[in-house]
């Protein structure tokens, strides 16, 4: 029976497939469903999880024949090349992914007999891609962090994923980070009265006051710079102004708590 294919953003793609332990009629029914779905969608390969079956089964179509590969594992590999891949799960995205050029797959057939097969070229790439689905993963997990971020942004906001239009780093985040460090340092200093002599503590108190003022200045700087930056990259996120105000509010609250601690607890008596 033809089954619907799993599409983004269905979270089932993240399920880790189980090993097939029973080579029974149910397994054969799943394989038939997979073959039917492949014919309908004109696919050359399919992982069971892509039609919602959480078992480690991959069907490959070669020269018109459909062969199941069950409980597959890769034990050897050589060579590495980058090629553009598409995914059944993510429509309309193509990503450059590094994959091994040659792999050795060990697997079981539909009767549970163990086999192994050396694969190369396109087949090697396809089996690696589909084995990743079996382990709850897609090519998004096989690219670097920057690319991953871009794909996620694209999926979330529907923008062109070719980069350039959005910076990966906003400078305003450095302001935010600075404030966070200052708040953390002040927070840690709250413990010092427990073990340092009062003379030293007086110094720490003074430093804390300076840090407190610096944090406020940084937040003011953040607020205005972030407004400026968000006008530069209008297309990047949905509601930047809201985010900026939210961030300032959260930071102010944290600073207020730590500030209370400093003035009530650290101040020399």
């Amino acid at each position: 029976m033809i089954q619907p294919l799993l599409k983004y953003p269905d979270p089932k793609i993240r399920l880790i497939s189980a090993n097939v332990r029973f080579f029974d009629d149910e397994l054969h029914r799943w394989i038939t469903d997979m073959c039917d779905t492949m014919k309908e969608n004109d696919l050359d390969a399919l992982s069971a999880i892509l039609i919602g079956i959480q078992y480690n089964i991959i069907v490959l179509k070669e020269a018109g024949n459909y062969t199941p590969y069950i409980n597959g594992r890769l034990i050897k590999h050589s060579g590495m090349s980058t090629q553009t891949e598409r995914s059944i799960y993510y429509e309309g995205i193509s990503v450059d992914v590094d994959r091994y050029e040659n792999v050795t797959l060990i697997y079981e057939d539909e009767k549970g007999e163990p086999h192994h097969r050396d694969l190369g070229g396109e087949l090697a790439r396809v089996i690696q891609q589909h084995l990743d689905y079996c382990y709850g993963s897609t090519f998004v997990d096989r690219v670097d962090k920057e690319m991953k971020q871009r794909i996620n942004d694209y999926l979330e906001y529907g923008l062109v994923a070719d980069g350039g239009s959005c910076p990966t780093v906003f400078y305003r985040d450095y302001f935010k980070l600075g404030v966070k460090y200052l708040i953390s340092a002040m927070f840690l200093s709250l413990a010092t009265p427990l073990f340092v002599p009062s003379a030293v503590q007086e110094w720490i108190y003074r430093i804390d006051i300076m840090a407190f003022i610096a944090a406020i200045l940084l937040m003011v700087g953040y607020f205005f710079y972030a407004q400026y930056e968000s006008r530069l990259y209008k297309q990047c996120t949905s509601c930047q102004t809201g985010n900026i105000i939210g961030t300032v509010a959260i930071l102010s609250f944290q600073l207020f708590i730590v500030g209370c601690g400093i003035f009530l607890w650290m101040a020399p008596k």
């Binding site: 979270p11 880790i16 497939s17 189980a18 332990r21 409980n71 594992r73 890769l74 050795t104 382990y135």
Partner: protein, 489 residues
């Protein structure tokens, strides 16, 4: 007054003995028989193996701790058990041979009311020619399984780093030294700690680092894989491990049974039946584990080792040992009370009990060579088992033979594994991986047999801090310092 003898002073034995001594008080006697004079927090041996910690930091003398806890301490190696006693005495007894306390080499018999076998594994270096022999570690590879081995490993590592400094390219091979090893986690931690040290020394481009393992897929760890939560979703340990290897430029071979080690070279067979060779300048290969080779005799002095122990030397407990195919494995095959089925006053905990079968999917090469990890039962599960068994024994002593036994099935406990990938307060890294339950329960969780909602932690510096804090915490606990009982296993 009853006497409980605990064989072994590792995680399981030490936990069992210290809790039993505390619960039983002074009116009963707890005896620990262990060949070592020091307690070793084994997970931190990894850091000794790269020279980041000294042997002294991961060990401490047992004698003063046992003195304080009121435990009788025999620095001796257990040789045999007579669970029925002897012709002249009905009381069961153990025979052990001193390794210290000024009586090295002397034999002694000691009767018991209850016995907990927590001897841990014998590091079976002899299983692979060249990896070692009956006497232990061979000359070609190093090991991090004991603090002494780790110290030696750090020394050898320093030597090849010197060569790298002189401009000689070096090949490093780390992994498992046999098709039926467990403890891939230790090798995994070691390879990344070595990589981290070499990178820190600015020598990374002078080293080729290679991983070789008996796991069928990366990140199996003898448990058929674990998982972790990254950015809100669950990631399999395979994907995570492979990306970590790719990121650090470490190549890998999986499904490998190392069948021979020579100077600078290992030979192996893979799951597809093919064979290969790998050269090395420095190699750390984990040996397979076996039982320590305790013997058992009946009243007439006849050997009944087969009744008490499984063929691999581990003690039989309340598990279902009927051989079954993979499809029929059940969570209920796994032991719950760790009581020996023949002799009810015998218990086993930690690595010393015989598991009913493995946890990962069983695998064989076309030549018939079994290549699959054996079940890990170290660390957290060991401590939990040790405590449960001690609890049972205390109840048996205090409430009589009908007391309800405490249960700690590995099919009902989770394990959190914080794997270090480099040591350093600021640039350290560790990955926290979790699994629940350790043994898949296919009835409760159809399919994978696991609950993937149970997670804990991520990779990063915080993970390293947790690992480092655990180091101090567990050594503190093992030394029985104040509040040791509130620290979990």
């Amino acid at each position: 007054m009853a006497r409980l003898i605990v064989l072994g002073g590792g995680v399981a034995g030490h936990t069992a003995a210290t809790f039993a001594a505390d619960w039983l008080g002074r009116e009963h006697e707890v005896v620990v028989v262990t060949p070592n004079s020091k307690w070793n927090w084994i997970p931190s041996n990894i850091w000794v193996g790269v020279g980041e910690m000294s042997k002294e930091e991961v060990t401490f003398d047992l004698a003063p701790v046992y003195e304080k806890a009121g435990i009788t301490y025999k620095q001796a190696k257990a040789v045999s058990i007579n669970p029925e006693g002897s012709a002249s005495n009905d009381k069961p007894f153990v025979t052990f041979e001193y390794t210290g306390q000024g009586k090295a080499g002397q034999s002694e018999e000691m009767t018991y009311d209850y016995l907990i076998n927590a001897t841990g594994p014998k590091l079976n270096f002899g299983a692979t020619p060249g990896l070692g022999d009956a006497n232990g570690l061979g000359e070609f590879t190093v090991s991090v399984c004991t603090a002494d081995h780790a110290e030696h490993a750090a020394h050898e590592l320093e030597k090849i780093m010197d060569k790298m400094r002189k401009g000689e390219r070096q090949k490093i091979l780390i992994g498992t030294g046999h098709g039926m090893c467990t403890c891939q986690g230790a090798a995994f931690e070691y390879i990344f700690n070595v990589e981290h040290e070499i990178r820190k020394a600015g020598l990374r481009d002078m080293a080729d680092i290679q991983w070789i393992s008996n796991e069928a897929f990366m990140g199996d760890f003898g448990m058929g894989g674990l998982h972790m939560k990254v950015g809100g979703y669950v990631v399999s340990s395979r994907i995570f491990t492979e990306s970590l290897f790719a990121e650090r430029g470490v190549n890998y071979i999986t499904g490998a049974h190392v069948n021979k080690v020579e100077k600078g070279k290992v030979s192996y067979e893979l799951l597809d039946g093919s064979t290969g060779e790998e050269s090395f300048d420095f190699s750390m290969l984990i040996p397979p584990f076996a039982g320590v080779g305790l013997k058992a005799y009946n009243k007439a002095g006849e050997d009944i080792t087969d009744t008490v122990f499984a063929p691999n030397g581990f003690m039989k407990v309340d598990a279902d040992y009927t051989p079954k195919p993979y499809a029929e494995w059940k969570a209920s095959d796994w032991p719950r009370t760790y009581q020996n089925p023949t002799f009810k006053n015998l218990f086993a905990a930690g690595i010393a009990f015989a598991p009913p079968h493995i946890i990962s999917k069983p695998m064989k090469s076309p030549n018939g060579t079994v290549i699959n990890p054996t079940p890990p039962r170290t660390g957290m599960p060991s401590g939990i088992m040790g405590k449960a068994v001690a609890h049972s024994v205390c109840d048996l002593i205090k409430k009589g033979p009908d007391a309800h036994l405490h249960e700690a099935s590995m099919a009902e406990m989770g394990a959190a594994c914080v794997a270090s990938a480099g040591k350093g307060w600021l640039d350290g890294q560790a990955a926290a991986m979790t699994v629940y339950p350790v043994v898949p329960d296919y009835e409760k969780y159809p399919g994978t047999g696991r609950d993937t909602d149970y997670t804990f932690g991520e990779i990063g510096l915080a993970g390293h801090w947790i690992k480092h804090i655990l180091h101090y915490l567990f050594i503190y606990k093992a030394k029985l310092k104040p509040f040791w009982k509130v620290i979990p296993e």
